[in-house]
Symmetry: C2
Subunit: 303 residues, 2 copies
């Protein structure tokens, strides 16, 4: 029944490391991306062309893109906030860039320092120039379920942002439950409202944080609603707004474990992913967010 | 669509504490059960009438049952392995007892020291005597997906045990993914095979461990297959066969959070559950397995 192909967008090297307190060297970032390529991931968000003053974790993204060994079949997007970032992405020969907006007015103000309306104005020239240059644009919409400042976000607010972006010509929207409060009870109505607003031709991706442990359930519910693209992060890197171990992004390993067992095709090597997550967590001295990894490593080291 | 009632069977005081390394006093057990009653849980497995030589964690279950304040609308079962245990359950005026078998031949041998066939012989007189005394019997079947010794367990093996127990007159079967390896890809075929074998009149309960982080997804998939009874454990107490924090039983808090948000009725107070889990984890010096609790407590203590 559900045997068609899933695309995982690995966001560990960008969304993950950007939100980890400990910055890592360019060499480690290059090794991380290369190992993720080797594990078979089809899309690896590998950096961000943002000001290192604001986001020191993403400093040196140009060197990362220069240093990685690119598989021609793999897409390596970067987050790009402005035209200057787009120029850097062009110099790095990227096929895809990602832009970031929020469905929450307050989160937009506090996270990117402008209103939602103003964020449309900011991204519009970037999107137009990227299209002119033949570069695809993926848009993140954050706070699609809840906002740390506003609480519940109405599905209509998410659909309004989605419609606006589709109006600019964007074809893929990543819907982020940034604080991980969603359950199938809220994810499904949100997806339905957004789908109605943008139509069937637009790719919707699920970007679910695991803060409340609900991410895999939300992926399962989304699958049943026809979603086939999911963002995940090796070892659950990134986005820990709360206590250590409370979980940020959904761990790629846990998604691959579940969906492979359900018969979906990936071409992703779980054993390699487990090793990569174990390695990077030791490098940045972080607990591993993947339950699958913890269980598998415990079994491996048994006598 | 799915607005009917769910029954949660709280197994923390028994399946949970029985599998924790640190034994707790009778006074703490009584407090735990009383607080779970106060939180609104309809079924609380409160002890086991087993030999304290084999299971020191369950010593004093008679005192626990004597010490708790029973809500007449709540069921307080105990695990009972033999007629001697049943007599203790009768002295404690229990409405329900639980028995334990395995769908894995090797697990049965190693865990209860007899073959599956022999385990039928052992439980049969207990079940008959309980029925004679008007005491309901709930049967746990362990290793319904995988076994730590045998690997994957065929669905037919689970169905065979289920049929045998139903033949004895048992009306509720708790299907345990003891090592937590199941996903919706394996849980659903197992449920289908067991349902076909036992018919629609038998209550099937999902008892899913969270070792691989799949428990909530498995509950969601089971819901869609009509399951309405789930076992869970406050703070995820118990069943940590692997690394600390890898998770044992699915945390009651996380189940309540998901299913409440999906519109199911519980009558369970999530805030009280969070407090109970936080308290008992401090008492036994264990990390809290509930993501919901970790996220909620972090939010609570924010300025």
């Amino acid at each position: 029944m559900m045997s068609d192909r899933i695309t995982l967008v690995e966001v560990g090297p960008r969304d993950g490391l950007q939100n980890e307190p400990k910055p890592v060297s360019t060499a480690i970032k290059v090794e991380l991306v290369d190992r993720l390529t080797d594990a078979g991931l089809p899309v690896i968000e590998a950096g961000a062309f943002v000001s290192p003053k604001w986001v020191p974790q993403m400093a040196g993204s140009d060197e990362v893109f220069a240093g990685i060994t690119r598989d021609p079949s793999v897409d390596y997007p970067a987050l790009v906030p402005n035209l200057r970032g787009l120029e850097a992405a062009q110099r790095a020969n990227l096929k895809t860039i990602a832009i970031f907006l929020s469905a929450s007015e307050t989160f937009s103000q506090r996270n990117i320092n402008c209103s939602i309306a103003k964020s449309y104005e900011r991204v519009q020239p970037v999107v137009a120039a990227a299209q002119e240059a033949g570069i695809a644009v993926r848009a993140y919409i954050s706070c699609v379920i809840g906002c740390p400042y506003e609480g519940a976000i109405p599905t209509k607010a998410v659909a309004a942002v989605a419609e606006h972006l589709v109006g600019m010509g964007i074809r893929e929207l990543s819907l982020g439950d940034t604080i991980g409060v969603g359950t199938p009870g809220t994810i499904r109505p949100m997806l339905k409202t957004v789908r109605s607003a943008v139509g069937d031709e637009i790719t919707l991706a699920g970007h679910y944080h695991d803060t409340y442990g609900q991410a895999l359930s939300n992926i399962l519910a989304s699958l049943e609603d026809g979603i086939r693209v999911f963002d995940s992060s090796v070892a659950g890197l990134g986005g820990c707004p709360y206590a250590p171990g409370a979980g940020g992004n959904v761990p790629t390993e846990d998604v691959v474990y579940m969906l492979s067992d359900m018969g979906f095709e990936f071409g992703v090597d779980l054993a390699k992913l487990v090793d990569i997550g174990h390695w990077i967590c030791r490098v940045i001295d972080r607990s591993n967010g993947s339950r699958v990894t913890r269980a598998m490593l415990a079994t491996r080291t048994e006598p």
